[in-house]
């Protein structure tokens, strides 16, 4: 190979997408490159001109514009442009100009075409926005075992089942005979039971519960039961099951959420096995599952505080094992929720039983199940309407204070905005809460909504879940009917805009100005979550998690085709950048924050970030147009 081809090749292979190309392709490209020099300030391509090659910046810097003259991107060494034109009728779509003395390598259009046909990854990279992000996100998912492995793969035997009319002794004998640690309880039913499956005996049966070794100790012996106790009398009130086609990851989450170690696996309605915690631990070495059980066994706040290093290492391991942002968000939220539940249990042990029924509600990221490692607390108390402040409030005030102080001690700092149950305003009976939400929705003042939008992510953590569910119903029904409210929420969702991208060691703003770092939460994930919330409210979604909301939005079919997917990939990617950054901070013993410095962003990430910011920016523009302020 000749020296100049070698020289060109060595340069190309340092930058995406060429860094992932096979070496024969690199040779071909390098051998076909043409070269051109552009002086600082001279145009490289004008709108609508014919274009016959992909441009690669060998040295210097280039600005790319939209047709309307707005700055689209600023490129430096190793960046490419011109692909949009090559993919669309070989006419320039984005004009470009050298902003420094610039040397370009020009890759002929026919080589580019052949490469796009031969190499999917290359094609994804050069396609506009969506596909590239999509490819990256899907690649991450493919590389994660837990996301793809189905629960049924973990099953080694069919489940052992017993009629719930049998006695505890009979169940124990059967479990011993089959050497299992859990047995499913079934009851005969009729064909029209919507949970019925047909047994080998041609009768219809339904799974009603599960009995484990652990239950013999806790539910039978410790409770003073006899060997003749009927199984139906001691089983759990609520059976948690999983479908065999779900991923191992879903099974892990189900265990995390419900703090159970055995999970009956169903194929449609037929039980096909039972997975145990240890089956899943074989698939993932991190300890978030054990961590949750550990949380419940702590007898004091001090004990919980001592677990916090474990929380951090569970987070780090999840990141290192290539978990997705959604997995990490759910795992971390489950840990946070368990912590709150345990804090409440501990508080109740000291304060005595609550004077009236109540629900402890979380808001913001915990309600959305997208917590990371550094998040402050947002919570509130919803009390039964029989609540009498004079008589009862002292108890709830004490509860709120204990939970809030405990969370703070565990590294979930107090909320700056005072969104905490310790605040009198956020410790109110259900009827008051209903009024709050009705006012926010029917008299939407953007200014006031700014401070209360966090309540539109709401989920119960402890107590009377129906209280929060009623509020969720109210929001789902009313919000979609109030254009004024949606417009106000939409307006607030435009307050924080993304930057354009990165340029060398700077963050480049939409107007071309530079900054040294970017707050990826404030300028990326948070506004994206805001956008998704508005669309979700508009379709009457009751989901709180952003990815679930996107599913609801997709089903409602209110966005242009492909839009919801773009938002999904952008959110996953931006969240992942944020999470990896926090993991990096933790590993280097810095306090994790959300500030990303461009020098710590790899070339591949830069391209994806630019795309994700673009998706967000477009989504914000669409939001303004979709939910206009109605004329009053």
């Amino acid at each position: 190979m000749e020296a100049e081809v070698q020289e060109i090749r060595e340069h190309l292979r340092r930058f995406p997408p060429f860094d992932r190309l096979e070496s024969e392709w690199l040779d071909q490209i390098a051998a076909s490159v043409e070269v051109a020099y552009y002086r600082d300030g001279t145009p490289i391509q004008n709108y609508g001109e014919p274009i016959d090659s992909l441009r690669y910046v060998r040295s210097g810097a280039v600005e790319v514009y939209r047709h309307n003259g707005e700055l689209y991107n600023r490129l430096s060494e190793g960046d490419i442009f011109g692909q949009a034109g090559l993919l669309h009728k070989h006419r320039v779509r984005f004009p470009a100009k050298a902003i420094e003395d610039t040397l370009l390598y020009l890759i002929p259009g026919d080589v580019f075409d052949r490469l796009c046909n031969a190499d999917d990854q290359f094609a994804d990279f050069v396609e506009l926005s969506g596909p590239r992000l999509k490819a990256t996100v899907e690649q991450n998912e493919r590389e994660n075992d837990m996301m793809v492995t189905r629960v049924r793969r973990l099953l080694s035997r069919s489940p052992v089942m017993i009629n719930e009319g049998a006695t505890v002794r009979e169940a124990a004998q059967m479990m011993t005979e089959h050497q299992v640690s859990a047995i499913l309880l079934v009851v005969q039913t009729s064909a029209d039971d919507d949970r019925a499956f047909s047994g080998q005996d041609r009768n219809y049966w339904r799974v009603t519960g599960i009995l484990t070794d652990h239950d013999f100790r806790v539910r039978v012996l410790a409770a003073g039961g006899s060997a003749d106790t009927r199984l139906a009398d001691i089983t759990h009130e609520k059976l948690v099951t999983i479908q065999s086609e779900e991923s191992v990851y879903e099974a892990m989450l189900a265990m995390l959420r419900n703090n159970v170690h055995h999970l009956p696996v169903l194929h449609r309605r037929r039980p096909v096995g039972v997975v145990h915690l240890s089956d899943i631990v074989r698939y993932e070495t991190h300890s978030s599952l054990y961590l949750v059980s550990n949380i419940y066994s702590q007898g004091s706040v001090k004990g919980l505080v001592r677990l916090m290093p474990d929380v951090r290492s569970a987070f780090l391991r999840l990141v290192e094992e290539g978990a997705t942002a959604q997995m990490i968000g759910e795992a971390m939220s489950s840990i946070g929720r368990s912590l709150i539940r345990r804090l409440i249990e501990l508080a109740e042990q000291e304060l005595g039983p609550p004077p009236v029924p109540y629900c402890f509600m979380v808001n913001g990221s915990m309600a959305r199940n997208d917590q990371t490692i550094s998040t402050d607390q947002d919570n509130a108390l919803i009390l039964d309407d029989s609540f009498d402040p004079e008589q009862h409030d002292a108890w709830f005030k004490a509860l709120a204070k204990r939970v809030s102080d405990g969370l703070d001690a565990c590294g979930y700092p107090y909320c700056d905005g005072g969104i905490m149950a310790t605040n009198d305003k956020w410790r109110q009976p259900l009827s008051v809460w209903r009024r709050y939400f009705e006012e926010w929705i029917s008299e939407p003042d953007p200014e006031r909504l700014l401070h209360s939008s966090i309540f539109f992510d709401l989920d119960p953590v402890y107590g009377e879940e129906r209280f929060v569910e009623q509020l969720q119903d109210l929001v789902a029904q009313r919000a979609s009917q109030s254009p004024l409210f949606l417009a106000a929420m939409a307006r607030n969702a435009l307050n924080r805009t993304p930057p354009l991208g990165f340029f060398r060691t700077f963050v480049m703003e939409q107007d071309g100005r530079h900054n040294n770092s970017i707050n990826i939460k404030r300028r990326g994930t948070a506004p994206l979550v805001d956008v998704i919330r508005v669309h979700a409210l508009a379709v009457g979604s009751r989901s709180q998690n952003s990815f679930d909301r996107l599913d609801d939005i997709t089903r409602a079919d209110t966005l242009p085709a492909g839009q919801a997917d773009k938002l999904r990939y952008a959110l996953e990617f931006l969240s992942m950048v944020r999470i990896r950054h926090q993991a990096h901070d933790l590993k280097h013993h810095h306090a994790p924050d959300n500030n990303i410095e461009p020098e710590n962003v790899s070339d591949g990430e830069r391209h994806n970030l630019k795309d994700a910011f673009q998706v967000l920016s477009n989504a914000q523009k669409f939001l303004r147009f979709r939910y206009p302020m109605p004329n009053r």
Partner: protein, 239 residues
Amino acid sequence: MARVAAKDPVATWPRFFADQASRCKDPALRAFYAAGLPDPTTPIRDVEMVALDFETTGMDVHRHAIVSVGMVPFTLDRIRPAAGHYWVVRPPRPLDEASIRFHRITHAEVETAPDLDTILDELLSLLAGKIVVVHYQGIERPFLDAAVLDRRGERCLFPVIDTMHLEALEVRRGWWTRLRTFFGAPPTSIRLADTRTRYGLPSYSAHHAKLDALATAELLQAQIACHHSAETALGDLWS
């Protein structure tokens, strides 16, 4: 053009070519001269050029010889390295160790290489009708002339655009340079690599004839973009 007087070398080149075309006996040389030259008034943007670079065993045209030849065709818009050529040739005299270290061309490569004569016809046909661009006119033109004279008994001369000369005109004029020189400051380097840096061109791992030819072509594009224009007449650039 009035400016092109009879004694101006610019005007004499076309005449020289016409003269040689009728005089030369060697068919390759005759064809080379017969292809002629673009008119000196042609704007540089319309001129087909070839960047040419030799590696030699030394600087003395009488004692040293060509070891490798690199050439890259280009215009003001595009440089086409893929359409270029590179040859290693065997010098009549053996290589000394110093020049091997310098060029990284080894004894083995040179021993199996052909004599320049075998590539000469092809080289001349590739240069025919184009304007040769070099960095420092003291090497390629005299060495090629001597080698052709040696093998074919006839002269091979042609105008060149010398990027080093163009650079010298830019950096070594003006009162500031004269003042610096007066106070003994070293003159600004106009070597290829240093000159390229001033135009924001990347540094290449030098001393390969084709890479240097590419580097020279890029430099000329940069110099014309900065100090001249696409309309500049060819005759104002060549020498």
